[in-house]
């Protein structure tokens, strides 16, 4: 029995299939998709490229892009097929919690991107609850290694080799769309 089948079997035994079905965003070269209303952590040298591909696949939803300092290059985003008027950029040198909380509470940004600079598990827990309520997917862009915080539902390490994404799944709590 494969790991995936084993997990499905165990989940069926816990009665998780009785819970309301979660909605998923289709994602590039990741058949499982990304669930809505969760916290995702992305690592690797192609995490942003992959994320922009995902945004390109869903051309309507608004995006909030939070950064500590201005590093992301909007021209590159436009060149990858994502319209810039969809994106609201926010720079915050201080605590990122507040702008993220505001954006999640507003329920108007299905995609929120932010650097992962938190270590306190309660912050992740709070953001995860807000994301679930607002059905927004919060993407944390990590730097060195994955966070051990349990409220992060999906952790992906994305590398690019010869124009192909290589995706390593570190953690995937919400399974696959039925």
């Amino acid at each position: 029995m494969s790991k995936h089948e084993l997990l499905r079997d165990l989940r069926a035994q816990t009665g998780i299939h009785l819970l309301p079905e979660r909605e998923f965003w289709s994602a590039p070269q990741f058949a499982c998709g990304v669930a809505r209303g969760i916290v995702v952590e992305l690592l690797g040298n192609a995490r942003t490229e992959w994320l922009l591909q995902l945004f390109k696949m869903h051309p309507e939803p608004y995006i909030l892009w939070v950064e500590k300092e201005s590093l992301i290059h909007p021209t590159a985003i436009y060149q990858r097929g994502v319209k810039l008027e969809r994106i609201q950029f926010v720079h915050s040198t201080g605590d990122l919690q507040q702008p993220l909380r505001m954006a999640l509470e507003s329920q108007h940004y299905p995609f929120i991107v932010a650097p992962n600079q938190f270590s306190d598990i309660r912050i992740f827990q709070r953001l995860s609850l807000l994301a679930e309520k607002s059905k927004s997917t919060l993407f944390f862009l990590g730097d060195q290694k994955f966070s051990a915080a349990w409220p992060i539902s999906l952790q992906l390490n994305i590398q690019q080799k010869e124009n192909q994404f290589e995706i390593f799944v570190q953690r995937q709590k919400h399974g696959v769309p039925s």
């Binding site: 942003t48 810039l84 008027e85 950029f89 080799k161």
Partner: protein, 440 residues
């Protein structure tokens, strides 16, 4: 004509209450601090009397006042109905003639004469307006002259009464004073008070078909030696116009929490005053019940306002492309409304190579040796050096008579280093290399 009259047994700030009723009709007049009248007959296609009554109750509750309401065919009719709460004019007591004769209390001399007329008829056994109306006009004139004639025509609703001009107050201001030591400047009770003030302010603004662009809060504390800053003033210049208390209160909360952390209030608060400093016309069209896009946009503007308040205007923006080929200048910040459609987007993708997703804040000088690139004194092995070169030069035309340092001449290369990390490096005319961006 159909007139509604609101009668207040206790004196209230009648102008402010009347102002919030502008949403029903622009024809309003006021009688000192006791009553106001509103003409609702011309708007009967928009709302019924029962609907008006229900909405009026909600508005009065918001202001925390109680009023008696009377409907009538004109000002005197509605006023006497509101005052005496009778079913018809005939049932009104004879004292109501005072209100018939002088509904706005402007002529004390004639009121005295009418009072004399009332006493005389009460002595004769005439107890209500119905009995008074049965009297012959000729007898009234013979006994009381012009006052008798005036009361007769008014009681028969034969006079047309001019509506005195009433204009709302020029500035919208809500103020509350507190008794000694009622509260000491904790944020939550302060916000609670501000919420009720904002409710009233936005109700008045809504009636004027306006939205707030700039508000001011003044907190006056007790003047003691330990608190030199006893008068605290906070100006809120909103990025987009505010139309409701909820979103505005969030902005207030952010600012006040920050300010109180820096400078706590050290003496009891005496008063809180909220003033509207600048307004803008609001769209008064009816809500689209089939499409809530406008509502969503308003909420996004509200979030934008909060983020601007929290982080500063320069940190919340949209990106706009330019015609410049230099990566760092190929876009600029646009601080206008969020998610605004860009009218003319230069088609950069068509004529420049794909840019790195991240740009370094400043180009970092690197050294390139055989097979290696040294970034910040750390050596990385080069896996692949792209032979495609992008040359970007120019600048000489901007200041043609100045030294050459104003120009730029860069040759960009895409390099893949160990760990399959792609970076963007440019070479200048002095054969120096700089790291300008990276992919990922």
């Amino acid at each position: 004509m159909r007139v509604a009259c609101f009668w207040f047994d206790h004196p209230v700030k009648i102008s402010q209450v009347a102002e919030s009723f502008l949403r029903f009709s622009p024809q309003i007049c006021v009688r000192s601090n006791q009553a106001f009248f509103i003409e609702i007959g011309k708007c009967k296609q928009l709302y019924s009397e029962s609907h008006f009554l229900a909405r009026a109750k909600v508005l009065l509750n918001r202001f925390g006042v109680q009023a008696k309401l009377g409907f009538g065919l004109d000002i005197t009719d509605s006023l006497t109905q509101a005052m005496y709460q009778k079913n018809s004019v005939d049932e009104l007591p004879l004292e109501a003639l005072l209100e018939f004769a002088d509904p706005f209390q402007r002529d004390p001399v004639s009121r005295k004469s009418v009072q004399h007329l009332i006493h005389s008829f009460q002595d004769l056994g005439v107890q209500n307006v119905g009995q008074f109306k049965k009297l012959k006009v000729a007898e009234l004139i013979a006994r009381f002259g012009v006052i008798g004639r005036h009361c007769y025509t008014r009681a028969h609703l034969q006079d047309f009464i001019n509506w005195p001009l009433w204009v709302p107050e020029e500035t919208i201001l809500e103020k509350k004073e507190f008794s000694y030591f009622e509260f000491y400047g904790e944020l939550d009770p302060l916000l609670f008070e501000l919420k009720s003030q904002l409710d009233l302010i936005f109700s008045r603004l809504f009636a004027r078909q306006q939205k707030a662009m700039k508000l001011q809060i003044q907190i006056r504390c007790e003047k003691v030696s330990t608190n030199p800053h006893f008068l605290r003033s906070f100006d809120f210049d909103f990025f987009s116009p505010q139309g409701n208390a909820k979103s505005t209160l969030k902005i207030f909360k952010e600012r006040l929490a920050r300010e109180f952390q820096k400078k706590p209030i050290r003496s009891p608060i005496e008063s809180i005053e909220t003033k509207v400093l600048r307004t803008t016309p609001a769209d008064s069209s009816q809500k689209n019940i089939f499409n809530n896009d406008e509502e969503k946009l308003e909420q996004i503007h509200s979030l934008h306002n909060q983020l601007v308040e929290l982080l500063g205007k320069e940190n919340v923006f949209q990106a706009e492309l330019t015609q410049d080929r230099r990566p760092e200048r190929s876009w600029k910040k646009n601080f206008d409304s969020p998610h605004q459609l860009q009218t003319s987007v230069p088609d950069v993708a068509a004529f420049i190579p794909e840019r790195a997703t991240y740009l370094c804040r400043y180009p970092i000088k690197v050294e390139v040796t055989a097979g290696f690139v040294h970034i910040k004194k750390k050596r990385y092995r080069i896996l692949h050096w792209d032979n495609d070169v992008e040359k970007i030069c120019g600048g000489w035309f901007e200041k043609p008579f100045e030294d050459i340092k104003n120009t730029f001449n860069r040759s960009y290369y895409n390099v893949e280093i160990e760990g399959h990390q792609k970076i963007s490096i440019f070479e200048v005319s002095t054969n120096e290399y700089y790291l300008h961006g990276y992919y990922g």
